[in-house]
Amino acid sequence: MGAFMKFIKQHISLIFPLVAILLGLEFFIVFDRTTDTYEKSLSDSYSIMVVAREEMSIDDFKTWDKHILGVKELSRPEALRGMKLVDKKSLEESLPYFYKIKLDNLLGIQALEQVKQNLTKSDTIKRIETFSSTYKSQYELFMFIKFSFGLFIVFMTIIGFFLIVKQMEVWNFLHAQRMKVMEIFGASLFLRSKVLINMAVIDAILSAILTSSIFIALKNIWVSDSEMKILKEHVSEIFFVSDFFILLFASIFVVLIAVFLVVINVKGE
């Protein structure tokens, strides 16, 4: 028990900030992955309604704006459905053409307004409906969530780095004397830092395992039981096996930089 406690005490002060940084990194990866899909689904479910005097093809629309990805013509009988009319056929012929336009991605409010302006320039187009108020609220909510989450990740990473700097000071206090003595007796930089490297790499591996476990647990327990549709839809994207290697590489990179900075700052007496 004593040895275990000693191990925990020795390692927790580095594992804790490393896990904070790795959580930040993995949240970023997962968030980026999920929001990409969500952004795409928002974009897919959104369309602009255009009323034209004459028949228009996709190329006709594309000449007015490069963001236009697809066009679907709404059948005119569809528009007249439910109406009790005597001469339905001639009325159908006199009706304008209705189009649903898909855009290539989730555009900002200003960019959407620009699309509308561009289409308005066409003489053939009579009317454009962008449903901007619904779009605006969805877009702004999405952007706000994205920004808040990004801020949280940055904040977590900064805290993690500060804790690592603190740990470097502790290392300096604990290992400087040994490294100085070893330098006096002719030890190379690698030999002097070997103890620290071994310890730091173990901590880096443990941190990567711990962070991966947290995400696997999130994926298999929390998300599965969650009532949130968006999370359930994207459960497969929450943790990939390849993410473990990204986390491992990142944590080893961070600890080796930290060790290197400590070692080069220790000068022999």
């Binding site: 004397q177 040994r178 003595v181 070893m182 006096i184 007796f185 002719g186 030890a187 007496e269």
Partner: protein, 224 residues
């Protein structure tokens, strides 16, 4: 006898304005036992530091074991240091390592096998009368015992040069005599060159020695 240390108009300083050692010229040969004395702050430890490459000469030349200390590169310096035995007043033992591990530090650095390290540790600890203390930690030993561990460590690789900075400065008379005996033996039996910085030369010293002194102006003289 070949030269081990050759200083020619050697000037040492920590900054541009303040010269600690001025124009020192001397030769120390293989097998010499040298005491360097002088008042506090005269530069005794500074001179010793230059011998193990912790301070580069500002002017003149200094050659240790055939290596020019002015142009010496890091790998060569590491190699030189691995062939020196250095003893400090404050022992400079690694407190989280056992006595045995401390003693074999120079062998570990040079990549000797665990078996060689273990055999040498037992022999050295017997030599400094610390048999049975292999698994102790430095903090569990008295000052005199810690310094004997320091001397054993200095002898671990049969160095061609032992440098000692006030090795008995923190010790009582009995422990000091033990340390001087060990130094005398190293010089006499192994033909190792020994350079000791000290405030006071011991009253009883059984082998011939040379005595350098540094005055307050940083000039080095041989007095004996």
């Amino acid at each position: 006898m070949p030269n081990v240390i050759t200083a020619n108009n050697l000037t040492l300083s920590y900054d541009q304005d303040d010269e600690v050692i001025k124009n020192a010229t001397f030769i120390i040969k293989k097998g010499d036992f040298v005491f360097i004395t002088g008042p506090s702050g005269s530069g005794k430890s500074t001179l010793l530091k230059s011998f193990y490459g912790n301070l580069k000469p500002r002017e003149g030349s200094l050659v240790i074991g055939g290596l020019d200390m002015i142009d010496i590169k890091k790998p060569k310096l590491q190699e030189l240091r691995s062939h020196l035995g250095i003893v400090f007043q404050d022992y400079k033992l690694i407190n989280e390592w056992t006595v045995e591990k401390n003693v074999v530090l120079p062998l570990w650095i040079s990549g000797y096998s665990a078996e060689v390290q273990s055999t040498q540790a037992r022999r050295l600890l017997h030599h400094v009368k610390l048999s049975g203390k292999e698994d102790k930690y430095p903090m569990e030993l008295s000052g005199g015992e810690q310094q004997r561990v320091g001397v054993a460590r200095a002898l671990a690789k049969n160095p061609f040069l032992i440098l000692a900075d006030e090795p008995t400065g923190n010790l009582d008379e009995y422990s000091s005599n033990v340390i001087w005996d060990l130094m005398e033996n190293a010089c006499q039996q192994l033909d190792t060159t020994v350079v000791v910085v000290t405030h006071r030369i011991p009253m009883v010293f059984n082998i011939p020695y040379r005595h350098f002194t540094i005055d307050e102006n940083g000039s080095v003289y041989e007095v004996h």
